[in-house]
Symmetry: C2
Subunit: 151 residues, 2 copies
DNA sequence: TATTGTTATACTCTATAACTATA
DNA sequence: TATAGTTATAGAGTATAACAATA
């Protein structure tokens, strides 16, 4: 055999990593949900939903953005009423970003859209294959060659 | 059960789609290969390796970039001797972008790096799991919710 | 009339720098 | 001394507009 499993995965990975892939997908997920919800603010919303109330610095580390970028995106979401700023009672320097009820509803909607798009793409798969893929993908992302080397 | 396979996959997908993930990975793959080879020109090189000689417009469609962007990235690669421009004998409007031998060598190197990184991440996996994952990922990317709706 | 490559332009998004406040 | 949030700035990268050439 002239090809390794690594090569096969490498080839398949390309389209997933493209900027246009993410832009197109995130555009679909956020369409019609208001001016403040787009491919830029979506990661902030979904990150906050995952972590709970979080400082801009912590959230930036979680989703791979500088805290200044998080601040600016959070401004837009705050103006739209999807996010609130709260003082952090345990750290006087920090300001916690927290989803509002409207913000939570937006996240539920986008998550459902994404899950539905995936389920639809996998509709013709044997259920066992789909479940196996979900399990293996999760492990791959956790183990994967994607995590930055820790300094 | 309160979670669908689609939701599981949606959750795992997040980190893969991040800009910082792609930037970090492509930086690792292209490190030390010369000034012209970086996260921006890598997709041009690897796209050309996949398609063979191609016009900027076609290559742009293949890798999800505007032809003006492809032109500018190709300029850098041409100056570095990794790519050549050739007239297209079948279409007087087009200019074919083609990898040079040096360009091919760079692609081989980056492909090996990526495959090695993946193999290393999967080193502890049962080989059957790794092979199953490669097969399912390929199918997922082909079937997936990522392909733009064709106009 | 549509598409090609290229250049110039304007726009968007990002991180860096700098500031003040708190640990 | 280090880290928080925020703002201003500058830098990088992108697509849009426009051009001449070809289909």
């Amino acid at each position: 055999m002239n090809h390794s499993t690594g090569h096969d995965i490498a080839d398949a990975l390309g389209p997933l990593l493209r900027r246009s892939t993410r832009a197109h997908l995130y555009h679909r997920l956020t369409e019609g949900l208001g001016e403040a919800v787009d491919d830029l603010t979506y990661p902030v919303l979904s990150g906050l939903a995952r972590t709970g109330p979080s400082s801009a610095a912590d959230l930036g580390r979680e989703i791979g953005l500088d805290r200044t970028t998080v601040t600016r995106r959070a401004d837009r979401l705050e103006r739209a009423g999807l996010l609130q700023r709260q003082p952090d009672s345990t750290d006087g320097r920090a300001t916690l970003l927290a989803l509002t009820d409207d913000g939570h509803r937006i996240v539920v909607t986008t998550r459902q859209r994404l899950a539905a798009a995936i389920d639809s793409a996998l509709a013709t798969w044997p259920p066992a294959d789909a479940q196996a893929f979900a399990r293996l993908l999760r492990r791959f992302v956790d183990d994967g060659p994607f995590t930055p080397d820790h300094d």
